[in-house]
């Protein structure tokens, strides 16, 4: 049985989680899926596009806030509130992308952090609209999705569909072109590829799926808060990609699982989570520069 056979098995196992896991762990599994989706969407442009999108969770936060605000401040159907999140994130991606994509590599990353922090500052300061540093709590979720288990199933299905969509895009001609741009933008230009436009579309797709993750968080947690788009979360998501393996498709999901499980365990013993995170990061960079899944894939290929 090939590697592909593992995916349906894993999915079936995940479907069974609520039957034998306590509620808290089901909730934790939802968080892992959401962060896995977020990290995978970052990796779409990071590992596969070679773009240093350092402040990716801005699009996650904006997605979450879009859903939250529409649910609390309007009488719009919840379905539309969910649907609006990825599109709001995608629109923000267009705006930021058009500005940032002119620069390359680290300069791209620095500008992207600056603009992202600006968005965070707006959310943080605009008390009357966003609730400022308190965020918004007790967001009314439709009855159907309100329980921990139903929120989990919804998250599982949407995450799986989103991951499938991203996978298909990465193996499409566009995805291959994106990887070509990552490897060698100059050569890509030479063989007739409009590099900047392809990068922009990739950024929009990545932002879109980060928005999906943000929307899912609202359903699972019924809150939003400004930390959702603070740069430390972006850093954590970046580390998820690196730990899991940023040149593999499922690496970021694995990284998300590892980091969230570790954080849950460790924070019961110590408050120095950031320190632990730093140590993990250092170890990975030194010993597994391609991440855990990258290392495993290499081993399998070499036989």
């Amino acid at each position: 049985m090939g590697k592909k056979g593992l995916i349906p098995i894993a999915f079936l196992l995940l479907l069974l989680f609520p039957f034998f896991l306590p509620r808290f762990y089901v909730y934790l599994s939802s968080l892992i899926l959401i962060h896995g989706l977020l990290a995978t969407s970052l990796n779409f442009v990071l590992g596969f596009g070679g773009m240093y999108q350092f402040h990716h969770c801005v699009f996650y936060g904006v997605g979450g806030y879009t859903t939250a605000l529409l649910l609390t401040k309007t009488s719009l159907s919840p379905f539309l509130a969910f649907l609006a999140a990825p599109f709001a994130s995608a629109i923000l991606s267009i705006l930021m992308g058009v500005i940032c994509v002119r620069l390359s590599k680290l300069y791209f990353g620095m500008l992207q952090i600056s603009l992202g922090s600006l968005v965070w500052a707006i959310v943080y300061r605009w008390y009357s609209f966003t609730g400022g540093d308190d965020g918004i709590h007790g967001i009314p979720i439709p009855h159907l999705l309100a329980s921990t288990n139903s929120a989990y199933y919804f998250t599982l299905v949407i995450t799986a569909l989103s991951m499938f969509a991203m996978y298909r895009m990465l193996v499409s001609p566009f995805g291959k072109t994106l990887q070509g741009i990552r490897d060698n933008p100059v050569r890509c230009e030479m063989i007739g590829v409009n590099v900047k436009l392809h990068q922009l579309l990739a950024l929009i797709i990545a932002g879109f799926f980060a928005g999906v993750a943000g929307m899912l968080f609202v359903i699972v947690d019924t809150t939003v808060f400004p930390e959702m788009l603070f740069w430390t979360l972006s850093l954590e998501v970046l580390i998820m990609c690196l730990v899991g393996g940023w040149f593999t498709f499922f690496g970021p999901l694995l990284g998300a699982a590892i980091l969230i499980i570790l954080r849950t365990i460790i924070s019961t013993y110590t408050v120095y989570w950031a320190l632990v995170l730093g140590v993990i990061m250092t170890l990975i960079i030194f010993f597994l520069p391609n991440g855990i899944l990258g290392y495993i894939e290499e081993k399998l290929k070499r036989g």
């Binding site: 298909r168 895009m169 499409s172 072109t177 050569r187 230009e189 030479m190 063989i191 007739g192 392809h198």
Partner: protein
Amino acid sequence: MLEVKGVSKSFDGFMAVSRANLTVNKGEMVAVIGPNGAGKTTLFNLISGILKPDSGRIIYKGEDITFLSPYEIFRKGICRSFQIVNVFQRLTVFENVQLSVLSREKKTWNLLMPAKKFYVDETERILEQVGLKEKRDTVAGFLSHGEQKILEIAIALGGKPEFVILDEPTAGMSPEETVMCMELIKKLRHEMDLTILFCEHDMDVVFGYADRIMVMVRGETVIEGTCDEVRCDTLVQEAYLGVSDE
């Protein structure tokens, strides 16, 4: 087919190419020679649109292409390889060449279909022609240097070129590899009806394969002529062949 007329390019006041002239006729194989830093690569960059000249004109098939962008020039059928290996390191050999074909056919925006179904026959035919068929699924970064230089040429062929520019195709190759590579280029030239412009330091290779030669020294065209004309020219012997140890 290609005419370079009095083209100059300076970098911060340094004339890398100055009033260079060059004519390449259809079906010819023309070599540009000159010592290190003579401006050969710069000239190729000017023709392929990576750089824009300060003055002069570049005419291709009667059309002025002086200020076209690299991808417009690529679409006109002028494809090139690079002196320093310039492939897609993490893509497989197949994907490297396929990408070039996809781009030529303007299919790079397709998001919905798996790429592995696109232009399989054409890509495999190119790989077969250059002898990389066995390495089809090898990641380009794992190829030997010589194989990467060949892949470099294969990517250029993906653009279905009529005119191919090869910047030191055999740079860094062993003598045996060099012969193999030049024989390959000769074979491709006839099979695909190519016009070729290349540069090369090895004089045996140049005199053995080129129809005509253009000698460049300090950015200027010293002489342009057949192999015999160039060999006999005293200016060249003094300025280049005698002095340079290449």
